[in-house]
Assembly symmetry: C2
Homo-oligomer: 207 residues x 2
DNA sequence: GCGTTATTGCAACAGATGTCGCATTACAGT
DNA sequence: ACTGTAATGCGACATCTGTTGCAATAACGC
């Protein structure tokens, strides 16, 4: 990490500040993993992290801020999709990975928490919005590659395909609260591909 | 309403009890419509309804109970889908109606609240689960009819098509927090139909 | 090193949230 | 009407949530 010199001269990102953020974010993730979003309170994070309650309120504002920052703290910025197979295989691989990430004891509850927080906090809404823009943006490479290979129609909108793929999975996980099996993943992949092949996701219908 | 005689002799569903439930549910819906889920507190509902705080806690348990009961209170049990057109038209009509219902000043916030409450309450999870089972069950008539008319493959799973149609809409509304336009609805309908026509939603693959 | 000051700790506080025992009300059966 | 009792009202209470003023600490520039 470098580039501490571009600060306006008022903020101090130095050692202590970084340490408290580290402790608070770790504790937040820990509580989410152990007890879940419903049991996440500022006081509990304060106790575990050793950082005082008022400090947390001042810097993070509340639960929503904690969740948002914890996600940013935990997320892997260097992720890129696997492009080693055909579209179908690549999408299926991605879908499996996404589902597995929700089963991860740390990342799963954290992601769930941000989605939950978005129902009550505009900051969380922004965070969710940015998260999906980033993730789906990266993943759309799978579709871009497929178009180049002639596997999908010329001006298919890549992100539309990804959204179509992931929407049913998120829907089952967070809205209708049904379990997601491997069969569901295959069905989602097949459905997204069938729609894409039928030209549903072509952006400019220049027929 | 009739059938008060089948009570086990301990519960009193008579006048007062019904009135308090009525008052509490109405106030809950009113607060949700005016201020939204984030501002929904037991005390506020108590004030507006004139029902005492402790009564609400005893009978409804808390916010989640209020939201669940308010949904049951507000929901239209006699709804049935319009079957006057072809599949595409009927699905589009349904999708438009569903989206419009979220814009409804009372029903929209209420539905949102139940989905939100499901992140923290098992009772809300049950309610959401039942709600979708009911709604999607009814709507699947559109698909059943289409299969009879030969518009869709023989053993297409009706509910799978409905889920495929609605998932992207719910995803945009509640997860990725993007606006939903009429174009999005059309795309969702087209995508679901394309997948169904391709045989993605056939239950027993007896190829 | 040394002073300035952002950051944090501390503690007291107001308000919201949820629980409980007891008094009061009103439904249901006679 | 009269009675037993479920349902509600009432208020006191413990707990949780979030805020604020002030003191202690440690980062940054010199």
């Amino acid at each position: 990490m470098s580039g501490e010199t571009e600060n306006p001269g008022e903020i101090r990102p130095g050692g202590r500040t970084a340490r408290t953020r580290d402790a608070v974010c770790r504790s937040t993730l820990q509580v989410l993993a152990e007890l879940g979003y419903a049991e996440l309170t500022v006081e509990r994070v304060a106790e575990r992290s050793g950082v005082h309650k008022s400090t947390i309120y001042r810097r993070w504002g509340g639960i929503d801020g904690l969740v948002v920052d914890a996600l940013a703290f935990a997320v892997d910025d260097d992720w890129e999709p696997d492009l080693s197979g055909n579209v179908e295989a690549n999408l299926m691989e991605f879908a499996r990975m996404a589902l597995a990430s929700f089963a991860d004891p740390v990342y799963g509850p954290t992601h769930t928490a941000v989605v939950a927080a978005a129902f009550q906090s505009d900051r969380a809404v922004d965070a969710v919005h940015r998260f999906f823009a980033d993730r789906f943006g990266r993943t759309s490479m799978i579709i871009t590659r497929a178009i180049e290979n002639g596997e999908l129609p010329q001006n298919t909108d890549p992100e539309a395909v990804i959204r179509a793929l992931m929407a049913p999975i998120y829907f089952r996980l967070f809205i209708s609260r049904q379990s997601v099996t491997d069969v569901d993943l295959e069905q989602a992949v097949q459905a997204a591909l069938a729609a894409a092949l039928a030209g549903v996701f072509e952006n400019q219908e220049r027929r």
